[in-house]
C-alpha cells in the first residue's frame, strides 16, 4: 500500500517552457550519494547561482511559490535521462502533481510510481488556468479533484485533465505496483518454467564460456 492520493487545494507554479528535461529537474551533481536532499536539488542549476545562492527571478524562489504543490509545465516534460530522482525531487519539494500538454514516457511512469499525479491538460486549458484574472493579484490557489479529473481555480475556472482510468484508480487506492504484480507470481513462475523448455536461450541461467 502507498499513501492514497487525496483531493487537495494548493498553490500552483508555472514553468511554461517545453522540453524541461530530467537533468534540469535534478542535476547529476545531486545524484552522487544514495541519500541526497533531492528537494533541495530540485531545478538546482536554475534555482541557485554558482555560489549556491538563490536566483531571485526563479519562480520557486518567490512567494508564495516556495509552497507550491502543483506544477503547470510545458510539453514533453521530463524528457531525457530515466533518473527517477526527478520524481523524488518534485515530491520532496512538495509537488503533488504536474500538469502539462505531454510527458516523456519514462518520467510519466516514474511520477506515477511515486504517487505524483502527472496528467495531460490541453495547451489552451493550461493557458486559461495560468492567465491572471482581470482583477489581478488573486492568490494562485487551485483545487485538484482526481476522481472528477478537474482542476479548479478559485475564481471558478474549471478545466479537465486526462489520465487513464486505471491509473487514476490506482492512485486513489494507493496501489503498490509490486504487490499487484506479485498476485500473478504463479503465472510468472509457470511462464518461466515453460520458457526453460521452449526458449532456453532466454530463460536458462546466463552461463559464461571459458575465456580464451
Amino acid at each position: 500500500m502507498k499513501t492514497p492520493f487525496q483531493n487537495f487545494t494548493g498553490i500552483a507554479a508555472t514553468m511554461p517552457a517545453a522540453n524541461i528535461n530530467t537533468d534540469a529537474i535534478i542535476p547529476a551533481s545531486f545524484l552522487r550519494t544514495a541519500h541526497a536532499d533531492m528537494g533541495k536539488g530540485l531545478f538546482g542549476l536554475l534555482r541557485y547561482d554558482d555560489e549556491g545562492k538563490e536566483r531571485p527571478d526563479f519562480v520557486l524562489n518567490r512567494e508564495p511559490f516556495r509552497r507550491a504543490s502543483i506544477l503547470f509545465a510545458g510539453e514533453n516534460f521530463g524528457c531525457g535521462s530515466s533518473r527517477e530522482a526527478a520524481a523524488w525531487a518534485l515530491k520532496q519539494f512538495g509537488f503533488k502533481c504536474v500538469f502539462a500538454p505531454s510527458f516523456a514516457d519514462i518520467f510519466y511512469e516514474n511520477a506515477f510510481r511515486n504517487g505524483v499525479l502527472a496528467a495531460v491538460v490541453a495547451p489552451e486549458d493550461l493557458e486559461a488556468l495560468t492567465a491572471l484574472p482581470p482583477e489581478g493579484n488573486v492568490q494562485p490557489f487551485f483545487e485538484v479533484d482526481l476522481s472528477a479529473g478537474t482542476i479548479a481555480r478559485m475564481d471558478g475556472t474549471v478545466v479537465a485533465f486526462r489520465i487513464a482510468a486505471s491509473r487514476r484508480d490506482a492512485l486513489i487506492r494507493g496501489d503498490d505496483e509490486i504487490d499487484m504484480t506479485l498476485k500473478h507470481a504463479d503465472d510468472i513462475a509457470a511462464f518461466h518454467a515453460e520458457g526453460l523448455i521452449a526458449r532456453p536461450w532466454l530463460h536458462a541461467p546466463l552461463t559464461q564460456k571459458e575465456r580464451s
Binding site: 533518473r83 514516457d105 500473478h184 510468472i188 520458457g195 541461467p205
Partner: protein, 454 residues
C-alpha cells in the same frame, strides 16, 4: 506473458542489467519488503556512471563515487548477481557490454535503469529503459507492466555519402522530426540505409531512440546480427543456439505490418551533422549555417532557439565551421565501440591535436579498450595527443570526475547537449567520432570530409 485487467501487458524480463547510480534504492526497497531477487541468474551488474576513467583506476580513485560503487558490489554479492566492477576485464558501459557479452539477444526483453537501454534494439532486442521503482519491480518479480506502445517505422532510404555515419543519420532524423516525435511509440528503423549498417552502427541508431522521444527502438535482426553474436561469452551452447537462430529468423516485421506512424528519411544527401543548440533537434549539416532566428515562426520556439544560441554562444545565420573547441570527447554508449574508435583513428593518424584542445578517448568497455590496443589504435591516439582512458560514462553524464568546465565548448560523440549536461554551464556540440577527431586536430569545428580527401 499476459494482459492485465487494466490493458497493460505483463512482460517477462529475460535480461536485467544493473548499474550503480540507479539501483541502490531498489535493493533497499526489496529488503524493506523482505523479498529476494527473483532471478539473479538472469541479471548482471556493472559500475559505469560514477567510475573514474583514469587509467589503472580502482573503486577508490573517485572518492565521491565510492558509496554507490560499494553498494553496487555489495548488493550484487548479497544477491548472487554477477558483478563486473572496475577491477573486472568485462567492465564497461551497460549498453556496450550487454551486446558485446552476448547478454542482449534478438527477441529478448532486456530492462535496465537507464534511458539508453534501447541500444540493444540494434540486435533486435526489446531494450526497456526504466526508473528505479521499475528496477525494484524487475528485481522482485522479473516482470514489467507496460502499456503497449504505438508502432512507428522510420524508413531510411538511399546510400550514405562518404564521411557520413550512423550518428549523422540519427541526428538528422531527430532534426527533421523533433525530440518528442517518438513519444508513446516503439520505433522500428528500417530501409536500405539501415540494412547495410554494421551491427555496431545499428546500436548507435537505436541508442538515440530516447532522444527522439521513444523509450523503445529496434532494428530487425538479420544475418549480420547473427554473425555479430558468434562466439560471445554468454551465448548458450551450440544446440540451443541453433534453435534460437531458427526462432530469430522469424522475428522481422511482416511485409504488410501496420504502423501508427510512418516516416521517411532520404539519406543520400545528408552531410556530417553537428548540434548548435541545447536539444538534439537543434542540428545542422556542417555545410549549413546555424538557422536564422527568423526561421522559427512559432514565438515560443523562437524564444527557445534564441536562448539556446545565447547559451551556446553561436551566431544565428553563421556556420559552425571554424568555431574553436576546448575539449574533444570520444566516448559514451552512443559512440565508443571499436568501430567508432577506428573511424576516429583514421582521421587523426599522422596528425596532432591542436595545442589548446583537451582530447580524450574513453572506450565503451575494457574489452573495447583491449581490442583497440590489439590493433594499435591506442598508439595512434596517444601520438596525436589524445588521453587514452579506462571505460565508463565519463563526460557524457559528468556525475563522475570528467567534467567540461563552465563556459567551455566541447564537441562530443555523446547523446545529450542539454544545458549543464557536461557540467555547470558547459557547451556541448554532438557529432560523430570522425567529426570529433577532425575538430580535435583542427582546434575548431570542421568538416571531416575535407580531411579525409586531403
Amino acid at each position: 506473458m499476459k494482459t492485465l485487467d487494466d490493458g497493460r501487458d505483463l512482460l517477462f524480463v529475460d535480461r536485467h542489467v544493473l548499474q550503480e547510480t540507479t539501483s541502490a534504492p531498489a535493493f533497499e526497497g526489496l529488503r524493506r519488503r523482505g523479498l529476494r531477487v527473483r532471478h539473479p541468474e538472469l541479471t548482471i551488474a556493472t559500475q559505469d556512471h560514477i567510475v573514474s576513467t583514469e587509467p589503472g583506476r580502482t573503486e577508490t580513485t573517485n572518492p565521491q563515487g565510492r558509496e554507490l560503487m560499494t553498494l553496487m558490489r555489495r548488493n550484487s554479492a548479497d544477491n548472487s548477481i554477477r558483478h563486473f566492477g572496475v577491477e573486472d576485464p568485462r567492465q564497461g558501459i551497460v549498453h556496450v557490454i550487454a551486446p558485446e557479452l552476448g547478454v542482449a539477444l534478438p527477441g529478448s526483453v532486456l530492462a535496465c535503469g537507464d534511458s539508453h537501454t534501447s541500444t540493444a534494439g540494434g540486435l533486435g532486442a526489446l531494450g526497456i529503459g526504466v526508473g528505479t521503482s521499475e528496477v525494484e519491480h524487475v528485481l522482485a518479480t522479473q516482470t514489467l507492466a507496460l502499456a503497449r506502445p504505438r508502432a512507428m517505422r522510420i524508413d531510411f532510404q538511399g546510400k550514405l555519402p562518404q564521411g557520413v555515419t550512423a550518428k549523422d543519420v540519427i541526428l538528422h532524423a531527430i532534426g527533421l522530426f523533433g525530440i518528442a516525435a517518438g513519444q508513446g511509440h516503439a520505433i522500428e528503423y528500417a530501409g536500405e540505409a539501415i540494412r547495410v549498417l554494421p551491427v555496431e552502427a545499428r546500436l548507435t541508431i537505436c541508442n538515440m531512440s530516447i532522444e527522439i522521444g521513444a523509450r523503445l527502438g529496434l532494428i530487425a535482426p538479420d544475418e549480420a546480427t547473427f554473425a555479430y553474436l558468434q562466439g560471445r561469452e554468454f551465448l548458450p551452447e551450440q544446440a540451443v543456439l541453433d534453435r534460437a537462430m531458427a526462432s530469430w529468423r522469424m522475428l522481422a516485421s511482416d511485409a504488410g505490418a501496420g504502423f501508427d506512424k510512418e516516416l521517411t528519411v532520404d539519406c543520400s544527401k545528408i552531410a556530417p551533422q553537428v548540434t548548435w543548440g541545447t536539444t538534439q533537434e537543434d542540428v545542422v549539416g556542417i555545410d549549413r549555417p546555424v538557422p536564422d532566428v527568423g526561421a522559427f515562426t512559432d514565438a515560443a520556439q523562437r524564444d527557445r532557439a534564441t536562448e539556446a544560441m545565447r547559451y551556446m554562444d553561436v551566431v544565428p545565420g553563421k556556420p559552425l565551421e571554424g568555431l574553436p573547441v576546448d575539449i574533444a570527447f570520444i566516448g559514451s554508449c552512443t559512440n565508443a565501440r571499436l568501430s567508432d574508435l577506428e573511424a576516429a583513428a583514421v582521421v587523426i593518424e599522422g596528425r596532432k591535436v591542436a595545442a589548446h584542445v583537451r582530447a580524450m578517448v574513453v572506450p565503451g568497455s575494457m574489452s573495447v579498450k583491449r581490442a583497440a590496443e590489439a590493433k594499435g589504435l591506442d598508439k595512434i591516439f596517444r601520438a596525436a595527443g589524445f588521453e587514452w582512458r579506462d571505460a565508463g560514462c565519463s563526460m557524457c553524464v559528468s556525475i563522475n570526475q570528467d567534467v567540461v568546465g563552465p563556459g567551455k565548448r566541447c564537441i562530443a560523440t555523446t547523446n545529450r547537449n542539454f544545458e549543464n549536461r557536461q557540467g555547470p554551464r558547459s557547451r556541448t556540440h554532438l557529432a560523430s567520432p570522425a567529426m570529433v577527431a577532425a575538430a580535435a586536430v583542427a582546434g575548431a569545428i570542421t568538416d571531416v570530409r575535407k580531411m579525409i580527401a586531403s
